[in-house]
Subunit: 302 residues, 2 copies
């Protein structure tokens, strides 16, 4: 058992990571702007990491040995080009710096597939070009570059977990899986693109377990946290249609594919599989089934 | 004639760039923490860009069309690994963001050869690996990544001028050329390494003119600002020895070469030569001669 500082503990991924840390027997110092629900082995810290000095004060107090940092601006539909990304570069670097100053041993910070130059070849950590086409991807990549240099000169370990396309219960209701599931459960029609784009989908609980195993491993540097399997958006929507018995309510091709939408974004997961030893446990259909069942239990959104 | 916002106007490079801008007929809004000496066509702004809101206020007031940003932490012997570099990432990105928000047309920000993975091959802007081995290099590279994304989404032009090894009058007295010149002028002995390391040296006035021509050009992206000529440290020290008639006071090999010191760091300057059309005007021996003469005129330092 170790005490882990978990920043961004109240988000979609953070909630799942918190459970995964507890499952593995850790105690957690959970950081979120508004705190969170009390539970055993969790100490909540209601801290806004954007506030000057906040990260420094927290880390000085807690002296964490391990840190898992998921905190970032993530507002659906806005995060790609918001200049909030600049504030999170600074906040994340201040936290990473405070962590090494307090002699933290090992930090895992969340990166993104948006750091890569998007292209059809498998995206590989140490080969693929890092040429982000969005401000979000640029901000994440820049943060990695500096955090890695800070860790190197502070003699702490840094692992950078590049997340791909996550889905699962608790996801923002307007994101693909959630939006299609909600509409079909409600018996509404769903207009989608042809859905030929291929993406690397992973259930958030698999991603959370991967992040925790990565934190516990000795692996450093960038590691893709993904399934390694390419699935078309059409296949995903079709599965949700079958699981909700609403497939005839889906109008494929009713919406044009967004301009500049990359054809294929799939991770090479050799590092995660071979160096960390992680294997996903949740097959796509099972994960979508669980997600659909979760949405059935939610009160309808306005 | 255009009005140019020059940030970092009081530094070693900034002073020379200020003269070069005036030579080319520009008016200058010169920014430095403590302001500077009054002269025609220069408006000084005593602004600390690290202060929250300072960059934003300045740019909102001035609405610059062109910006040349040299401001960064540059304390000799400290800047490589100082965490001041983190504050300058943030300050530079806030300035770049404010500039695009104010509909600035074109910005040139100073980068560094420290952004590259140091190796013996010519360092080329769009080919060579960007794997900085210092916090300073990482911070500069990270700033470029994000500033480029900001410029792209703000529809402004960004050019990133990677400076190599500059020398000239006004340089910090403890840097190589200055230190050797001062000691030999004073008749003191100079202990150096064997000096086999090859570097790309450029006179600061050539670099300043290159930066101004780059700002005036339509070229965007990363551009090396360098001579393209590799010269060994031994050759440079030998020239200074000859120019001061103090060569017999130099003890080559008296100091071990620093561990990890790269053998050869030389820029590919095809972009600067061919796309910008810039050619250096100051041969190394002439530049060193002018520098030695300048140091002769300075009062001895304590």
């Amino acid at each position: 058992m170790t005490r882990v500082l978990l920043a961004g503990a109240s988000g979609f991924v953070g909630g799942s990571v918190l459970r995964a840390l507890l499952d593995r027997g850790h105690e957690v110092d959970a950081v979120a702007r508004r705190g969170g629900q009390a539970r055993e082995r969790v100490r909540w810290h209601a801290t806004d990491l954007l506030e000057p000095g906040a990260a420094e004060a927290l880390v000085t107090e807690l002296e964490p040995e391990l840190m898992l940092d998921l905190a970032w601006y993530a507002e659906h539909g806005r995060f790609w080009d918001s200049t909030e990304n600049l504030r999170w570069v600074d906040a994340t670097l201040r936290l990473a710096h405070a962590f090494t100053e307090a002699r933290g041993r090992r930090a895992l910070i969340a990166g993104s597939c948006a750091e890569y130059a998007w292209g059809p070849a498998l995206l590989r950590e140490n080969d693929s070009a890092l040429e982000p086409s969005t401000l979000y991807g640029a901000a994440k990549h820049a943060t990695h570059v500096v955090a890695a240099a800070l860790a190197a000169q502070g003699h702490s370990e840094l692992v950078w977990g590049r997340l791909f396309f996550l889905y699962g219960p608790g996801e923002h209701p307007d994101r693909l899986v959630a939006a299609v599931a909600r509409s079909l459960i409600a018996g509404e029609r769903v207009a989608t693109s042809e859905g030929a784009q291929v993406r690397d989908f992973m259930h958030v609980d698999d991603a959370a377990r991967a992040l925790v195993e990565l934190l516990e491993s000795p692996v450093t540097g960038a590691v893709n946290v993904a399934s390694g399997l390419g699935v078309s958006v059409r296949e995903v929507v079709t599965m949700i249609g079958e699981l909700t018995a609403g497939l005839d309510h889906v109008d494929f091709g009713a919406i044009a594919t967004r301009a500049g939408e990359p054809e294929r974004l799939v991770a090479d997961v050799a590092r995660l599989r071979e160096e960390v030893g992680f294997t996903p446990a949740i097959a796509l259909r099972d994960g979508l089934d669980a997600t659909v069942r979760w949405w059935r239990e939610q009160p309808a959104l306005p």
